[in-house]
């Protein structure tokens, strides 16, 4: 099993390598290999989940030990205390499941790419390899290494295949994310100085004075470093331009999965490793998260470009993840994890739909659209359903996740005024979300059909498949969230126990 686990990043690497040897004219072969690749990853992840559920890997309540499934460790660059240490818990598995589904949909959405198609898929698979490597690494340095690997393909994918101000957007995105890496390096240097190791579980269980005092400044460095990737205010500005300029599949993957690496890192590499630092600094990050939530939603109201609307909505919704984490309670962390998964699906389906609609209208400006329901009912219905999911209607995954987060804002002691105020502000964001979603849906789907609308054709089969998969996931998670919540809860036990020490 440990080998199968590592195959989640080895397989995409191999596909990327073998794609290099396919002649670029053979688009069919390239597409076939890509789909086979992502299906292979999905099959791997599903089989891992089945094996995980069959085995007994849950951490007992109150335990501080993280029980890793399928763990494998071998010395790597051992002279500096680095080892190649991989394993999974429920949290990582859920993220991997989401990532592999979105990757599959992303490849299907990219079916129409013909220009430099080979490079596109090579870069996409390098991005996938880095992402999956991140999710299974339990060595801080290896984790960081995989995280860095994801950044360069992002630059090339946006700058070569994007639209609009693509070169500016790609450069801005990359420099800001590498700025985050600079903070992460600082935090890692701090932990290394205190512990001489990068083993995450060992660092988390290290209660020495040195680490405690270093955590006071290393925690904000690590949290903000990953927070930039999770577009926490005031370092969110890369994400609207970046996501709006990227090609559809990359927008889906960036907003759906890659941004979540930020949240994943915040939880795994910051809160879990340095609970003392977390207790000290969380009020600040709670305020920043609340600003992200409300500010993102307000900005989305004023946007005219569909991609920008969704990008700002993403900032708002990912802000909720940070807010959930910032409560530092079991419920809040769980809500954050659920929101990461839910938002991954929701934002991916919205970006996929925007791609499909843009392919017909050739504009993303909502003022120049209208009446699409009359001509392309399938896409329009999907758009309305996706709109429901963004707002967080009961029955969609966002409802489950956001409700948990809001509960966390008000559970426990009522003396914590800051938390109550921030919680109330976050809840108010639902109303603001409803404003921009309803307005957008209304002006795109309803009203008189635009002039050139009679030539529009409804979604082809290859376009329908990813939309149906993603919407199914959203509603499945909304209606049957039980096992997901359970998995998340179990894997968060050690984090919560550590927070209480």
């Amino acid at each position: 099993m440990p080998f199968l686990l590592n195959c989640t990043w080895i397989l995409p690497t191999l596909i990327a390598l073998s794609l290099m040897f396919v002649p670029k004219q053979k688009v069919g072969v390239i597409r076939g290999m890509s789909v086979a690749g992502v299906l292979g990853i999905l099959a791997l992840v599903v089989s891992l989940i089945i094996a995980f559920l069959a085995g007994d890997y849950a951490s007992p309540v109150g335990s501080a030990e993280t029980t890793l499934a399928f763990s494998y460790r071998t010395p790597w660059f051992e002279a500096i205390g680095n080892q190649f240490y991989t394993g999974v818990d429920g949290f990582s598995l859920l993220m991997m499941l989401m990532a592999s589904i979105i990757a599959l949909c992303g490849v299907l959405v990219s079916w129409t790419i013909t220009d430099r198609c080979k490079e596109f898929f090579i870069l996409l698979f390098i991005l996938l390899a880095g992402t999956f490597g991140c999710f299974i690494s339990f060595d801080l340095l290896t984790f960081f290494l995989f995280n860095e690997i994801t950044l360069i393909p992002t630059y090339l994918l946006i700058a070569i295949f994007g639209s609009g101000k693509k070169e500016f957007a790609a450069m801005k995105l990359n420099l800001m994310l590498f700025g985050g890496s600079a903070l992460i390096i600082l935090g890692m240097a701090g932990t290394y100085s205190a512990t001489g190791s990068f083993d995450m579980i060992a660092i988390a269980n290290n209660q020495s004075e040195t680490l405690g005092s270093i955590a006071m400044w290393a925690f904000p460095a690590l949290f903000m470093g990953f927070g930039i990737l999770g577009s926490v205010f005031p370092f969110h500005t890369w994400s609207p331009v970046g996501h709006a300029s990227a090609p559809t599949a990359i927008s889906m993957f960036l907003a759906g999965v890659h941004m979540k690496l930020g949240g994943y890192g915040c939880l795994r590499a910051a809160i879990y490793l340095m609970p003392e630092g977390a207790q000290e600094w969380m009020p600040l990050f709670m305020v920043l998260a609340t600003i992200s939530v409300v500010y993102g939603a307000f900005i989305a109201i004023r946007q005219r470009d569909l991609k920008y609307i969704n990008a700002y909505a993403s900032i708002s919704h990912v802000g909720l993840v940070t807010f959930g984490f910032a409560t530092l309670t079991a419920v809040g962390l769980k809500g954050g994890v659920l929101q990461m998964i839910s938002h991954g699906f929701v934002t991916a389906v919205v970006f996929a739909l925007i791609g499909c609609i843009y392919g017909r209208t050739h504009t993303r400006n909502i003022d120049e659209m209208g009446g699409l329901m009359k001509k392309i009912p399938f896409l329009s219905v999907c758009f309305v359903l996706a709109g429901f999911a963004v707002v967080g209607m009961p029955g969609t995954s966002s409802f489950v996740a956001e409700l948990t987060i809001f509960i966390a804002g008000f559970s426990g002691s009522l003396d914590d005024t800051l938390r109550l105020v921030c919680g109330a502000l976050c809840i108010s964001s639902i109303v603001i979300t409803a404003v921009y979603v309803l307005r957008t849906v209304n002006s795109v789907v309803h009203g008189p059909l635009v002039d050139n609308g009679h030539e529009f054709t409804d979604a082809r089969f290859i376009e329908k498949v990813p939309l149906i998969i993603l919407l199914t996931c959203i509603f499945a998670m909304g209606l049957f969230p039980g096992w997901i919540i359970e998995l998340a809860e179990q894997s968060l036990t050690p984090v919560v126990t550590n927070l209480g020490r």
Binding site: L145, Y155, S181, I185, S193
Partner: protein, 481 residues
Amino acid sequence: MTLPTALWTDIALGSLACIILLSESLLGPRLRKAIVFHGAWIGLVLIGILTVCTAPESEQAIGNYLIRPWTIPFRLCFCIAGALSVLLSRNLLSGTGHTHRRGLLVSGGVHIFLIICSTLGMFVVTGAQDLITFLVGIELATIPLYVQAAMLRDDFSSEASAKYLIIGSLSTAFTVFGISYLYGAGNSVHFDTLAQTLTADKHFAWVGVIFVLAGIGFKLSAAPFHMWAPDIYDGAPPPVTAYIASSSKAAGLAGLILLVYGPFQQLGADLENIFMFLAIISMTIGNLGALRQKRFNRFMAWSSVAQIGFVLMALTGGDLAIPSIAFYLLVYIIGNFIAFFVVNCLASNRPETFSNMRGLSKQSPLLALCLLISMFSLAGIPPLGGFFGKFELFLAAAQPGHEHFYLILFAAINAVVSLYYYMIVVKDIYITEPTHADNSTCPAIAILPSQRLTLVVLVIAIIVLGVWPAAHSWIFTLAGS
């Protein structure tokens, strides 16, 4: 008296130099072509292998000449850089039927002989046990480069040589002046004695330290002693530029480490502050300079100033400093040579400006990919060797007892700035479409088979160094103690 095994490499290197010079002057033209070029690079590679094989477990001395285990990775770096530099000269050698925009080298054989001489000088630096040997080694390593810089017949080459000669002599003067003060303060030129007698409270000693550091600073092109670098990188023949950029830096660093952990070892925290200052201004000035460059070689000069800043940061640290610098240099040399190989291929028929590199990914995907990998390795992107190389420099400055966290933050932000200009290069070769004016001056790119092979080997090497820890642990076992 038995000869220490580790000394074989130095002797072999000296013999190789003699063989090359003799075959250049005695053999007929046909045999000469083969022996001088192939003999030199194969010889240097073999000496590199010999260096690894004869790596001593502990220090081996013969008279005042001491071979220390930690210098072995540096010696390997010198051999690699020497061999690559010879290979890089291929399309500038006369009699091989190649042409180059800037003409051919005046005398290929002498050029190759001087590369080996310079490498020998670097070996001597790493073996020095007193200040005199040290100075002789540095001069032997540098003086051949003044000559080599003038090996092309154009004005740029002569200008570069003259500048290098003047600046180099100035730096030597600094070093000699500093050494005289060290002798005055420590009553000896021997490193072991100086290590006892040079203490931080001797103001006299500090004058010597500062001047010697300034002299070495010129060799390293660390700011504020960097002003010569862009002109000389741009004017010198490509293989010489690459050699100055890699081996010469490595030798300077080996010398610096030798002094810091030898005669200067009692100076402690104050010395760390000097390195911190040099590191901060080097990386800042280097980065700012590199941002606006239009010509590739000048760009590489400024980026090397910044890179030296990162290396000097590691010198503020503890026992990770030597091995991390050694590993970094290995990676840095390979990364640098990939870039210079690519640019040398381009430069054979066009000026090496960024605008001439636009659309390179379409003209030659291999060269574009190699340059991309080189730039990312220099920027420190995984899974390339540069990532661990650079990361360890950060870790060295975070070791217990040497915690320079502000320096680390500053350096990490500088690393992001440096990423920007490396990505600009990538943008030019992959994304920016060439304008008509760029295109019309771009004839087809000719890559020699030997250079293509070298490029592929180097690219594989840099990826392997980044993912396979064998070389890394070898360096750490040798240099870690």
